[in-house]
Structure formats: structure tokens, C-alpha cells
């Protein structure tokens, strides 16, 4: 993973070869069977292989012990975990490594997650927790309760504790990127089903109303991706800070908002079969329902952005809008 660009460098797209490699890797390993088998826990083999490939510390400088590469590379990995419904905390551990890096820390081995509040994702499989004081100790938290989220991924509820700065932002962006990937995949699964499935003697995709559902899904997935890329651009241009927080707010808001309509229309279009646990559609739609709730709902983040704008007044809106995406030396 020797990317020529450095962490926080001024790159605006992920490395093409990396994107391609990760895509093929997850496509091969994150199969419906393995996603299904991992419910309630995680796909340990897939996680180990991802660590092996260096995916859980991409975007962390090699000097810090990371895999190197850019933040756009990191976001591409997160997006891919969504697109492929990876049933392992690859994105969470990667996010934790990036949070640590913001504070000058090296990535820690194993399933290490940063605390951001009461709910700790992947609780049942977590090895270590990244503390606000910068230490990453083996798990020793008092768990109030445990459960599984919409997607069958385990979580624990702990007493709320002090957080590392920007942990919220980076984890929210992580989920936004994963959602963008999942939204794209749901859109594609729906197109495919509409072409293949026949009813009353013709493919259901010939129905105008379903065509409109599909167009909207495709556009919403693109918008979610755009909002995520805006935030990654800002992170990459200026590092974490208040501009980054607002760009993350926009990203989590846009991705989260798209979930309700995309999931509704995808399930509507797939009919009864898509509502069963034997159809793969639900590996994505359930993750979307889970992810929009994680690390602040779309309402929470929209309110963060809205309050900031109201506080600064109407004149602050246009400069904010035109700050995204940040300008570039030459158009790509």
C-alpha cells in the first residue's frame, strides 16, 4: 500500500488501482452466504484479511505505522464496505485509526474502536477501546446492555464518557461514506431486478412508476456520494476543524435522508421476495437503517448545520455552500 501521496495531501480522488483492488477483494469475500453467517457477530476471516491488506489503516501515514495513502483512499475503502455490505468492522477500525492519527497516535492492532458516546458498535467483537486520554486499552468498560442493530451487528451500551476530539465527525463521515456505497448498491440491485423480473408478461422495469423510483434512487445515491466527497475534500485540504464538522454534517444529513425513500422504493419494487431474509437486498437496506442512526441521525446533523447557519445569519449560507467542494488547482 505504498501510495505516492501523503496523508492529508492535496489529492481529490482515490488511487484507481486501490479502488479496483478493494472492490474485487470484497466482491470475492463479502458474499451473501458469508454476510448471512456473520449475523450477530462478524466475519473474522474477512476482517483479518482486510487488516492483512492494510485496509484498516489506509490514510494513516506510514511514519505513524499506517498503510499510507490518502484520506480519499480511506473514504474509498469505507464506501466499498458499504457497497459490499462487509460484515466486519473494517470501516470502524479504519475510522479509529484515522481518529488516532489526528491526535498523533499510531493504529492499534485488533478490533479497536473509538468511544463517541453511549453506544459502542461491534461491542461483542471489540478487542480494545481508544480512550480520550489517547490510550488504547483492552476492553474494560461496564456494559449497561447489549443488542444487535437493524443489520444484526452487535453493539453495547456503556456509561457515557469523554470523547476524543473529532471522533464524532470522523465516525459520522465513515457511516455517510458507507451509506453512499450501500445506496449505490441498492440502486443497482433494483435496476437489475427490474430488468430480470417479469410480471404480466414483461419486465417490471417497463412500468413508468418503477422507472421513476429507479431514477430517483440513482440520483440520491449520487448526491450522497457527492456530499461525502465534499467532506473528504475539506478534511484533506484543511484537516479537522469547524469547516470539516459542517461538511460532515452535510454528508451525514444527505446520506441519512436518502435512506427512507431508497429503502422504501427498493423493497416496493422487489416485492415480497425482497422482504425475506433469503434475498440479498436486505443486507444493504438493513445496514442503511442501522447506519443512518449511528453517530447522530440525519436530524441531529442537519440541526448542527442549521443552528450554525442561523447563528451566523443568512449571509453565511452562500459562502458555506460555495466552500463545497473546495477549489482545486486544476479541474480533474
Amino acid at each position: 500500500m505504498n501510495s505516492p501521496t501523503q496523508n492529508n495531501s492535496y489529492a481529490r480522488v482515490a488511487d484507481e488501482m486501490l479502488v479496483d483492488t478493494v472492490d474485487r477483494f470484497f466482491a470475492e469475500h463479502s458474499t451473501p452466504e458469508r454476510i448471512h453467517a456473520a449475523e450477530g457477530s462478524m466475519d473474522r476471516a474477512l476482517f483479518a484479511a482486510s487488516v492483512e491488506m492494510g485496509l484498516t489503516s489506509i490514510g494513516v501515514a506510514e511514519s505513524l505505522g499506517g498503510s499510507g495513502g490518502t484520506l480519499h483512499d480511506a473514504a474509498a475503502v469505507m464506501y466499498a464496505t458499504g457497497y459490499h455490505a462487509v460484515a466486519a468492522p473494517v470501516a470502524d477500525v479504519l475510522a479509529t485509526a484515522l481518529i488516532g492519527a489526528v491526535h498523533g497516535m499510531s493504529p492499534v492492532e485488533g478490533v479497536t474502536v473509538a468511544l463517541t458516546g453511549k453506544r459502542v458498535p461491534w461491542w461483542g467483537v471489540v478487542d480494545r477501546v481508544l480512550w480520550a486520554d489517547g490510550s488504547a486499552a483492552a476492553v474494560s468498560l461496564d456494559v449497561v446492555s447489549t443488542g444487535v442493530n437493524y443489520a444484526g451487528e452487535p453493539f453495547g451500551v456503556v456509561e457515557s464518557r469523554e470523547k476524543l476530539a473529532f471522533a464524532d465527525d470522523i465516525l459520522a463521515l465513515t457511516r455517510a461514506a458507507q451509506m453512499a456505497g450501500a445506496l449505490q448498491r441498492v440502486s443497482e440491485l433494483s435496476v437489475q431486478y427490474s430488468v430480470e423480473r417479469e410480471q404480466f408478461g414483461k419486465p417490471i422495469g417497463k412500468q413508468q412508476i418503477l422507472q421513476h423510483y429507479l431514477a430517483q434512487m440513482a440520483g440520491d445515491a449520487a448526491a450522497a456520494r457527492g456530499a461525502v466527497d465534499n467532506a473528504v475534500d475539506v478534511w484533506s485540504v484543511s484537516g479537522p476543524g469547524s469547516w470539516f464538522t459542517l461538511a460532515v454534517a452535510a454528508a451525514k444529513t444527505v446520506s441519512g435522508r436518502m435512506v427512507s425513500v431508497t429503502n422504501r422504493n427498493a423493497h416496493q419494487l422487489h416485492g415480497a421476495i425482497g422482504f425475506t431474509d433469503e434475498h440479498r437486498l436486505q443486507y444493504w437496506t438493513r445496514r442503511l437503517w442501522a447506519w443512518r442512526d449511528d453517530f447522530g441521525t440525519e436530524v441531529h446533523w442537519a440541526a448542527v448545520l442549521g443552528r450554525s447557519l442561523v447563528s451566523d445569519g443568512g449571509r453565511s449560507l452562500w459562502p458555506f455552500v460555495t466552500s463545497l467542494p473546495p477549489a482545486l488547482d486544476s479541474p480533474t
Binding site: 440520483g219 457527492g226 479541474p331
Partner: protein
């Protein structure tokens, strides 16, 4: 699998000084009271003196060659100026069409004489154009137009009726699409109205028609808001000189289609009500204050925040399309998608505004809301209905 493709793109740093210049210019004009920010100004606010000011300050014809009065800059420079004008609600309807499409069209297809005679005045903000495309009963089916041009000494005689010609009553010219070969020729009749072939599209040509010429009659088409932007233009043996034939005879359809992606992808497709969103933020601020306990509710703040968030996402997609266009690509589907999403968003702003700030709170704000709501039905009709746009996307996705 076919997807929508929006390559990562940003505006270049080289546009930033220009943005700063036009923003200062506009803030100064607002401060002087030259204009009050309004919604949907690119259609409705026709102000020749403001257009001339913009021309004089070098903000029009930005991407046109300097030899024709342009400024030799890039389409992305124009993008920046246009979005600033829209966001500030400036009165830009006079030069809008000439700057967006008539100028580029004449530069691309026009005779040298037409270029010399018209383009410098367009860049100066002194010469305004309208669009002459739709006809009665043709509706969304542009291939069904019936207006004709027949050769005459030194030029052409045009006959027929155009509708939805915005600002024809205030502008100097329109570029009009007519048939130079009658519809019944060339076996077109055999394919008929339902025919799938391109035969109906053949034999069309574009002309630059002087809207003050004898034989041209302009009648208002008033909107439900009472506003008069649109017109019916009737041509009865109206004369167009030879050098105002635009492009090759018979090539009109292709020329028109080529303009569509440009017409559909601009920031005017999501910024029409932006000034209202600015006013909404201030109205909420005035009503609730900014202190934590007295500030807007989570729900009210979120309603504003989600609009702003979606704007930033759309802007990125819009820039991606603009960059692709400026690189010579034809992102027709992506442009349609942005217009579909953008026009829905700009329509939502009016609804959110009246929900957060009850009518009767502030008369000036109410007027902005009313203007937005009365204009909103047009957003999703003009330039291709959203149903048609989604059909374009569905076709691209392979289901249609």
C-alpha cells in the same frame, strides 16, 4: 451495469479572484439599492441598465473570444459568475439567454457577419435574445413544430407561431427553429406522428429573427402569478436576411439538441429560490434568536440544515457536469438528473419557509414566499418536465 457518472470535480483556484470580484460588485450594488434580491430572477427580472453594468464590468461573454468582445476565459469562469448572480438574486433576465446560449450558438454556427454585428453588443449587455422553440400543440414533442421558412430574395420569409418565448416583448432577437423543408416531403408522412424514426427532425433550421421586424407580432402569455415573462410570437412573412441563417440549412435539430445539456445543467436549476432560503435563515434568527435555549428548535434547525446540505451535494454534481461539458463531454443523463433533483429542491424551499415562519409574521418575507410558491410549478416544467427527465435517466439505466 450502466450508472450515473459524476467524476470528482471542483472549480479551479483560478476562478476565485473572479468570484471575489463579482461578489464585491454585487454587494456594492445591493448596498446602493440597485436591486433587492429576488427569487427566480433569471426568468423574471429584466433590467437592461443592470445588464449593461455587468457588461461594462466585464462579467458577460466571459468565455467568448476577445475579438468578438468576449473575455477569453473559461466556461467555469462563467459558471462562477452565474452562480453568484443567482445566489444574490440579481436582475439578470435581460441578458440571460444571450449569455447562456445564444452567444455560444452564434459563435459556433453563425456567419462572420452575424458574429461581428451581434456578439460584441451581447457581451456588452446591450443586446438581448429569446428562445423560439415551442409551438402551440407541440408541447413536449418538439419534433411536431410547423413554423416554416421559405427562400426569398436576400433571405428568408418566416411564418408560424412560437409560444413560451420568454421576454420577447423586451428583447431584441430570438433564435427560432423552423422547417426549411416541409413536413410532408421526403416520405415523412408515411412515418406519421407516431413514427420512431428521425425523419420528422430533418429539414429544420435555426434563424436569428429581429423581434421588431415587420410581420412579427408579440402577445403576452400571462402566468397564474399575473406576471408577464412569456409570449406568443406570431411571424407572418417576417423577413430574415441570409446572414442570419444560423448554421447549415437543415441542421437545426442537431444544433438545438446540442444546446440541451447546457440548458439543463446550470446552477439556475437549483438556485431559483436561494434568496428566500437566505431570508428564511434571517427570519428564524429574528424570531428565535441565537442563544441556546431560545434558539430554533432541533426540528426547525434541521429543516434549514437539510436544505443547505442538499444544496452542497447538488452543487458538487452540478460542477461535475459543468467540468465534463467544458471538457467536451456530453453528460446528458447526469444533467437531466441534476435538473430533476435541483428543481425539486428549489420548490421545497418555499414550502419549508412558510412552515417555519407563519405567514403574517413579516410582510416582506411573506412576499418572497408567495413569489416562490407561485413560481414553483414552472421549475419542474420548464426545460423538460421532471417526468421526461426521469425517463431519460431510466433509459440510461437500461430499463426503458
Amino acid at each position: 451495469m450502466p450508472r450515473l457518472t459524476f467524476p470528482a470535480a471542483s472549480l479551479p483556484h483560478s476562478t476565485e479572484q473572479l468570484r471575489s470580484d463579482i461578489r464585491s460588485f454585487l454587494e456594492a450594488e445591493i448596498a446602493e439599492g440597485t436591486f433587492v434580491p429576488r427569487c427566480d430572477t433569471w426568468l423574471s427580472q429584466h433590467d437592461p441598465s443592470f445588464s449593461r453594468k455587468l457588461g461594462a464590468a466585464g462579467f458577460l461573454g466571459l468565455a467568448w473570444p476577445t475579438e468578438y468582445g468576449g473575455h477569453g476565459r473559461t466556461p467555469l469562469d462563467r459558471f462562477v459568475v452565474v452562480e453568484e448572480l443567482l445566489a444574490h438574486g440579481a436582475p439578470i433576465a435581460a441578458h440571460w439567454v444571450s449569455d447562456r446560449q445564444s452567444g455560444p450558438s452564434i459563435l459556433k454556427h453563425g456567419t462572420e457577419q452575424a458574429k461581428r454585428e451581434l456578439v460584441p453588443k451581447m457581451a456588452a449587455g446591450e443586446c438581448y435574445f429569446s428562445i423560439g422553440m415551442s409551438e402551440p400543440d407541440a408541447g413536449s414533442d418538439l419534433a411536431a413544430i410547423r413554423s416554416t421558412a421559405t427562400k426569398t430574395e436576400g433571405g428568408w420569409l418566416l411564418n408560424g407561431t412560437k409560444v413560451w418565448t420568454s421576454q420577447a416583448h423586451n428583447n431584441h432577437y430570438f433564435i427560432v427553429l423552423v422547417r426549411t423543408t416541409p413536413m410532408s416531403d421526403g416520405g415523412v408522412g408515411a412515418e406519421g406522428a407516431g413514427g420512431a424514426g428521425g425523419a420528422k427532425h430533418r429539414g429544420m433550421s435555426q434563424f436569428i429573427m429581429d423581434l421588431k421586424a415587420p410581420g412579427v407580432q408579440i402577445r403576452p402569455i400571462r402566468l397564474l402569478s399575473g406576471h408577464h415573462h412569456f409570449n406568443e410570437v406570431v411571424m407572418e412573412d417576417a423577413f430574415v436576411p441570409e446572414h442570419f441563417l444560423l448554421g447549415s440549412e437543415g441542421n437545426g435539430w442537431d444544433q438545438v439538441i446540442g444546446e440541451l445539456a447546457f440548458e439543463r445543467s446550470g446552477p439556475e436549476r437549483y438556485l431559483s429560490t436561494f434568496p428566500l432560503l437566505v431570508a428564511l435563515i434571517d427570519a428564524v434568527r429574528t424570531e428565535h434568536g441565537t442563544e441556546l435555549l431560545r434558539g430554533p428548535s432541533t426540528e426547525a434547525a434541521a429543516a434549514i440544515g437539510q436544505l443547505a446540505a442538499r444544496l452542497t451535494a447538488l452543487r458538487r454534481l452540478c460542477i461535475s457536469v459543468a467540468v465534463a461539458l467544458s471538457n467536451g463531454k456530453e453528460p446528458v443523463t447526469e444533467a437531466a438528473m441534476v435538473k430533476d433533483m435541483g428543481t425539486q429542491l428549489e420548490g421545497e424551499i418555499g414550502e419549508v419557509a412558510r412552515q417555519l415562519v407563519p405567514p403574517g409574521t413579516n410582510p416582506i418575507f411573506d412576499a418572497l414566499v408567495e413569489d416562490a410558491i407561485l413560481s414553483t410549478p414552472g421549475f419542474t416544467l420548464r426545460g423538460g418536465t421532471n417526468e421526461i427527465l426521469r425517463g431519460i435517466v431510466a433509459r440510461h439505466l437500461g430499463v426503458r
